[in-house]
């Protein structure tokens, strides 16, 4: 178990965090500058706190009072940087060999991640996703007791990101190595997080399950971050394989969303961006949007652009992003009755990795259904 209780002062910025982590994937979530990367680097030993202590399974990695500061090399914590840190003058195989460890282990990881075809290439011949996979394998060769990842998807293209998250999630489940994953992206947090610690201004502001944290954010900053997404949890009512759609019941509202894995009766979580929600002052016919729900405007928040919070008659609340012109033109104001229009494809799933619908070895399988769920 990892125990962290550290403080660090850098100029005007003060970091003060304390938490424990036993197993699974812990997400350190927050906007840029919240201190999440600093925390991670301090745990790794790449940075030194001003005071506090860090212990792993009782062994002190850092303890100010006892003047202990274990070197990076000895902490046995794997670290994945934002930019792939493969050594450019070595091939993938050489990079992996650099970390030491048994060749048989290396072969196993290479096969597991499906990167046999690039082992003899140099990093500049690989894509970002391939590089990160090799970086992860390299880190695993040391048999780390915990994996620390600092926004590892930054250099990975969107298509591969989805796949790699899936692989990471499965990796964690299989190896049981605890992971601490830093990100400011809600879907990533949802996909692989077992627990989310939200940080802001160097402090922890929330700590809980992903669904708790994002559904009911306690800080404005997080609300604005996760407010880029409307998160909806619903119960699966039916599937339409031909149409590739699923019908769900989201707190009373019937919504048609892309086809998902979950069995009928099970719950599923999706997100829809405020940009993708249309407002109409009356019911609209002849539109391709399969979802049209009625509600009342609760409030309008004016920023660079106005965000309109609408409470549906059935109970669900959704945020829609409009332009100032539209708000004026439609005379949107609190209390006004409106209809929300949403395309099926505007919804995207947040927890693809959690399904066990088909074969038990998710790393080997390329989840084709997931591809269908992605927006065109």
């Amino acid at each position: 178990m990892l125990q962290v209780a550290i403080q660090k002062q850098v100029g005007a910025f003060k970091l003060d965090v304390a938490f424990q982590h036993e197993g699974g994937t812990l997400i350190l979530f927050g906007p840029s500058g919240s201190g999440k990367t600093t925390t991670l680097r301090n745990i790794a030993g790449l940075d030194r706190p001003t005071s506090g202590h860090i212990t792993f399974d009782g062994e002190a990695l850092y303890d100010r009072s006892k003047r202990i500061n274990m070197r990076v090399q000895q902490r046995r914590l794997g670290f994945i940087f934002q930019q792939p840190s493969l050594f450019p003058h070595m091939t993938a195989r050489e990079n992996i060999a650099y970390a030491g460890g048994k060749t048989s282990d290396a072969e196993r990881w290479i096969e597991l991640f499906g990167v046999q075809h690039i082992v003899d290439q140099h990093p500049n011949q690989m894509s970002g996703g391939e590089q990160q996979r090799i970086t992860i394998i390299r880190a695993l060769m040391r048999q780390p007791r915990c994996l620390l990842m600092d926004e590892p998807m930054s250099a990975v293209d969107a298509g591969t990101r989805h796949l790699l998250l899936h692989e990471l999630h499965a990796l964690q489940r299989e190896t049981k190595i605890p992971m601490i994953y830093v990100t400011h992206n809600v879907s990533e947090a949802y996909r692989i997080g077992d627990r989310v610690i939200v940080m802001e201004g160097g402090r922890i502001v929330q700590d809980g399950l992903p669904i708790e944290v994002f559904h009911t954010p306690t800080s404005a900053a997080i609300a604005s971050l996760s407010g880029t997404e409307n998160i909806i949890t619903g119960r699966v009512l039916s599937h339409n394989a031909e149409d590739h759609t699923t019908t769900i019941d989201a707190q009373g509202a019937t919504l048609h969303v892309p086809l998902c894995h979950e069995k009928i009766g099970k719950s599923t979580t999706l997100a829809v961006r405020p940009e993708d929600i249309l407002l109409a002052t009356g019911e609209v016919s002849g539109t391709s949007a399969r979802n049209q729900v009625a509600g009342r405007v609760v409030k309008v928040r004016y920023d660079t652009f106005p965000t309109v919070l609408v409470a549906l008659d059935t109970g669900l609340s959704l945020r829609a992003k409009l332009t100032h012109q539209s708000v004026k033109f439609l005379k949107i104001e609190p209390g006004r009755r409106v209809y929300l229009l949403m395309k099926t494809w505007a919804f995207h799933p947040l927890d693809a990795g959690r399904s066990h619908h088909h074969t038990p070895d998710p790393l080997k399988d390329t989840p084709t259904n997931d591809n269908a769920m992605r927006r065109p």
Partner: protein
């Protein structure tokens, strides 16, 4: 990011590595062969076999002594004469500054420098001989643009510049006496173009850079078709021009040195001297120019041979310098890049000084610190028999000191430009700092280091100012390419100068090209890796 591109860049990289290897190998071979050669000589000063004596002689004696030297070598097999032609006062200072070591014979164009050496105990009074006399001549460029017909015409405002040797150079002293006698000093005071020695003044006249020049009659005779003689000064206008010669008391080859002086006083030498326009003192002095025939002239194979020797010396000195500068510069660069300590930037600045200071300033400091008068220099000579000043070792040291900051700065930049995150990644994989430095940082900094080596090698080859001061310009011993060019220029030997200039230019272009290629390869690779 395609395979082809990777192969191409990898090939280019191999190409450059191969070139660097070949360069190092060739220069290593040259170093070994010639070093073993000269080492043998340096260690056997008294053996009759293949003795080298150094003769420091006034610049005006360049052609005549070269011929005398050749004749001397023909009649005295086993002895090789190396000449050091400069202004007499400069030579005097060299000998004094060096404690009388390194030179075997001294011949100058006035009594005063010899007097000083006798007074300093470097020359025994009884060893001194007078071997020639000379006259002062007023010369003008071909075409005579200022239309000067006599000494008196120098007062005319048409005369814009007058080339004259420096105030301490004998030729300059005599010339100024002439001007004083003719009451021309005031008028010409701001028109004088001072030169390091009389041959340089001669060069300016030949090239038409000045309206007129005051040189020795013998100088004018050497190049009679390259300028016009206007008038020869009356002997009563200046002190008698007497050329003394003597062997130095501390000469390591007293026997050979004595034989040379003797030879210069012999009848064979008389013939050569008179042919070049010098008269024995006491004989009737000439009032018009001697005939042009100066006997042997340099032919092209001689020229190429001289150029080749200069090139070899340059390569030797520069390679030797590089062998010390490269590891030392890399080490210091690594320390400056990686270790953060107080005073780091101050140390960097101090070590960069030799690159920023004028080379002659650096040369001056080196002379003080390593010359035969210094503690270091004396210790080296007494204990190890190693001579720093006026030697190729000195030339190597001078170029090394000047080139070191280049290597150090290149190395520092190379190490700093390695992505620090890669080093951190290595730490997280359990590798210590030294392992990381050797396996990650160094290979990634390689291109920058090679670039630094190339640049400092080039700088060492081209070094002149400091080398000139510490090692002099002794043909066959310390006359590296830049010195050889200067020497050829002042001796109106355009052909040699041009060959050397061409070689150096091509070399420099090659260096710039290589360095640029290496730099762009480094940037390409890092860009690609970051995607």
């Amino acid at each position: 990011m395609t395979r082809t591109r990777q192969n191409v860049t990898a090939d280019k990289g191999h190409e450059i590595q191969r070139f660097a290897k070949v360069l190092k190998l060739t220069t290593c071979m040259i170093l070994i062969t010639t070093l073993t050669g000269s080492a043998n000589d340096a260690r056997a000063p008294t053996a009759e076999k293949h003795i080298k004596i150094t003769v420091s002689a006034a610049a005006s004696l360049n052609d005549v002594f070269t011929e005398i030297g050749r004749r001397f070598e023909e009649t005295h097999p086993g002895v090789v004469v190396q000449f050091n032609f400069l202004g007499s006062n400069h030579l005097q200072r060299q000998i004094e500054g060096n404690d009388g070591v390194g030179v075997d014979v001294f011949a100058c164009a006035a009594e005063a420098p010899m007097d000083a050496l006798v007074a300093g105990g470097f020359v025994r009074p009884e060893d001194r001989r007078l071997f020639a006399g000379n006259r002062i001549a007023l010369v003008v460029p071909v075409g005579n643009p200022a239309r000067i017909t006599s000494f008196a015409d120098l007062a005319d405002p048409r005369v814009q510049t007058l080339a004259i040797s420096g105030e301490r150079v004998p030729a300059g002293i005599y010339a100024r006496q002439v001007l004083e006698k003719l009451n021309l000093t005031q008028t010409l005071s701001n028109k004088l173009v001072n030169t390091a020695h009389v041959r340089q003044a001669l060069a300016y006249v030949i090239q038409g850079e000045v309206s007129a020049g005051l040189v020795y009659a013998t100088d004018a005779a050497q190049v009679a078709d390259a300028l016009q003689l206007v008038e020869i000064a009356d002997t009563i206008w200046h002190d008698p021009i007497r050329y003394p010669i003597a062997m130095l008391d501390r000469s390591p080859h007293p026997d050979a040195a004595w034989k040379f002086v003797d030879f210069v006083m012999s009848n064979i030498a008389t013939e050569i001297l008179e042919r070049h326009g010098f008269r024995r003192p006491g004989r009737a002095t000439l009032s018009k120019l001697p005939s042009i025939n100066t006997g042997e002239k340099l032919d092209n194979s001689d020229r190429l041979h001289k150029a080749w020797i200069a090139l070899k010396l340059s390569l030797l000195a520069a390679t030797g310098a590089l062998m010390v500068v490269f590891p030392l510069g890399t080490l210091v660069g690594a320390i400056l890049a990686k270790c953060n300590f107080r005073g780091r930037e101050l140390l960097d600045s101090v070590l960069t000084l030799p690159m920023v200071l004028p080379p002659t300033v650096t040369g001056y400091y080196l002379m003080i610190m390593l010359g035969s008068r210094s503690w270091v220099g004396r210790t080296l000579e007494d204990i190890l028999g190693i001579h720093v000043s006026l030697s190729l070792l000195g030339a190597g040291i001078a170029s090394g000191v000047i080139a070191f900051p280049l290597m150090m700065k290149s190395a520092r930049t190379a190490f700093e430009s390695v992505n620090h995150e890669l080093e951190l990644a290595s730490y997280t994989l359990g590798k210590g700092r030294i392992t990381t430095l050797l396996r990650i940082t160094l290979p990634l900094a390689k291109n920058g280091l090679v670039g630094g080596a190339i640049l400092s090698f080039a700088r060492a080859i081209g070094e002149f100012g400091a080398t000139f001061m510490l090692a002099g310009m002794i043909e066959g011993r310390t006359m590296t390419m830049p010195s050889a060019i200067f020497n050829a220029f002042t001796n109106h030997d355009d052909a040699t100068a041009q060959i050397l200039v061409l070689v150096l230019t091509i070399f420099s272009i090659g260096v710039i090209y290589l360095t640029n290629r290496l730099n762009s390869r480094t940037m390409d690779r890092q860009d690609e890796a970051e995607l």
